[in-house]
Amino acid sequence: MSPDPDVTEVTENGRRRIDWRETLFSFQSFFGLIAVFVAAIVFSPRRNGEILFLTSDNLFNVVRAVSEIGIIAIGMTFVILVGGIDLSVGAVLGLSAVGSAVLLVHDDLGVFPAVLIVLAVGLVFGLLQGMASALFGIQAFIVTLAGLQIARGLARIWSDGQGVAIAYGDGPNEAPVTFSLLGERTFGGVVPIPALIFAGLAVLAILFLRTSAFARHLYAVGGNEKAARLSGVPVNRVKIIVFGISGLLAALAGIVHAGQLNQGSPNDGAGYELDAIAAVVIGGTALTGGRGSVVGTVTGALLLGVLNNILALNNIDANVQLLIKGLVIVAAAALQRLRPSS
């Protein structure tokens, strides 16, 4: 508790002065991203005077590599904003990747029905987790830990434990060529398709959190669940929907994953939930709920992506890379603690 609540200065109809520290902290992840970006340029290997990090190919590799984590991190942001956590997203991604491959290849479904079924599976999976958590009052951590196991199990069963390769064509056991659009590296030779999906979702999520009544409710539940309930906020409904959103986005990321790698494998996405949580935390969203934004999460995901990229371009030892990433997460969290207003 920084200064005694008794002594808050109340000026007559004047605005509070904008505190530069406050500004700095609310854009923590942005400054972090810019710092990492600049560092990446400085430390980038060069070839014939050209900065390799800044080549378009490389930058697009970065955003494409970030996209899947970014998509699930958006869903994770919703869950964390209500004070929950979703550990199942990596497994749901794997389940959906398998589902896409099996439906397209073994069941010869069209792209549209296959995608729709997979998304529905993800949505329902999330909603069920939300119900278990909200209606039975089980902690989200435990529910989704169980969900993680269940989704992996389902993925193994659905795929017979094997990776299912996706071959394209019109024949039996071949996926429609339309689906390979997701595997195409770029759209019109410019922007990678997964990045487009990520960016579109991010914009939607930002607008949704800005404008909707649901978002108001969501922030209230995360900020003080008891107060929200007594204020007439439908707390359970909010929680259930939030998990539904997370499941849906994890499923979408799984479809992208399958398209990118031309395969659905039951072990896909292992550990992705942790990367997503890291992106959310670096983005400044409080794990206790009620405070944070998708904008932060997007910058957090990009920050991690740029960091991964520059470490790889400099051939930093894989084990040292892990250390550096861990330190960045701790630093981001520590900065949050120094934040003046909370």
Binding site: F30, P45, L52, L59, S265, R291, A312
Partner: protein, 336 residues
């Protein structure tokens, strides 16, 4: 008063920031749109005077076999002054390995060595490298199609055949009872090592039990524990790799039957915890080398880049039987 939700976040400034950032990124990006794309379809070869950067993309360095592969490449490359090798580890993640290869391409490597985590997911990015004119050497596991320069690897089916022959002719010429310990179901090596084995095993030897050890030492131990309880008579345990054979040995020892059973493994890594040492020390009676191909990959790279010659599309590495007689010598030579 215009920013009522300021307590939570501020979007106008945020959007401005994002826009700036995006602009910066795309501006930088478009100016160097065509960079990094080598025009050549032929490997760059500047003879002995050149300098070459080689990228080695490993699937999962946590496995001792793959660690050894990296080490073999490092050792062999140290003897070629023109070579500098960069290593990346995908930690069993296909998507990570795709990124690893892409990052190598950004760094404009002259040659790619890859030991793919899985075939299909990596096919596209390997083709991308190959189409850019970068020679690609694929180790151990294949990729789909033929967009690569050379595949270097051992033949698991052949190793299985040799193991079967060894059992049938040397260990149990008059027949006997055998237990097979399999690797991870669904994995190609497990399948091939089993099929090859049964091709040459003949009919005299009776397979009394089959266990699934998932390549793991502790699973091999558990499986054999149970199998020994159910079968009073076992003469040979054929294990798809050395660690499971070692586990099986421990199970037998616990049952006091280790001297009555012969253990056969595969891989024969010349490392302190590997199969060669286990044979030398008498825990395993025989094992078959599954060469990493690291040394051969650097040799192929030298042929392509320094000697400016072509290499075979497929290079199958021979296996070698390791027994008590040659174990000590093989270990010394491999680490010499």
């Amino acid at each position: 008063m215009n920013r009522p939700w300021k307590g939570i976040f501020d979007v106008k400034r945020t959007i401005a920031f994002t826009a700036c950032l995006m602009l910066a990124v795309t501006a930088c990006g478009t100016t160097s749109q065509n960079s990094g794309k080598g025009p050549a379809t032929q490997a760059k070869c500047e003879g002995t005077g050149g300098k070459y950067v080689i990228g080695m993309s490993q699937a999962n360095v946590a496995e001792p076999y793959r660690q050894r592969m990296d080490d073999d490449i490092r050792t062999a490359a140290a003897k070629v002054p023109q070579f500098e090798v960069k290593f990346a580890d995908a930690a069993q993640d296909n998507a990570k390995q795709v990124s690893d290869v892409e990052n190598f391409l950004t760094q404009q490597i002259n040659l790619l060595i890859i030991s793919p985590n899985e075939a299909t997911p990596l096919t596209a990015v390997v083709k991308k490298a190959y189409d850019k004119g970068i020679p690609v050497l694929v180790l151990d596991r294949k990729v789909d199609g033929d967009a690569y320069t050379s595949f270097i690897g051992a033949d698991n089916r052949d190793i299985g055949r040799q193991a079967g022959k060894y059992v049938a002719e040397k260990l149990l010429p008059n027949g006997g009872k055998l237990v097979e310990l399999k690797g991870l179901p669904g994995s190609t090596p497990a399948q091939e090592r089993s099929e090859g084995f049964h091709e040459t095993l003949g009919t005299k030897v009776q397979v009394v039990a089959t266990g699934v050890g998932d390549w793991l030492r502790e699973k091999g131990q558990q499986q054999l524990d149970a199998i020994l309880k159910a079968n009073a008579e076992v003469d040979v345990v054929y294990s798809h790799n050395d660690p499971m054979a070692e586990g099986a040995y421990l199970a037998a020892k616990a049952a006091g039957r280790e001297s009555k059973i012969k253990f056969i493994g595969i891989d024969a890594l010349p490392i302190p915890s590997g199969g060669v040492k286990a044979v030398e020390q008498g825990r395993i009676s025989a094992t078959f080398t599954y060469p990493t191909g690291g040394k051969e990959a650097i040799a192929a790279a030298k042929t392509l880049l320094v000697d400016c010659k072509q290499v075979e599309k497929k290079q199958t590495l021979p296996t070698q039987l390791i027994t008590k007689e040659n174990a000590e010598r093989v270990y010394r030579e491999a680490n010499g």
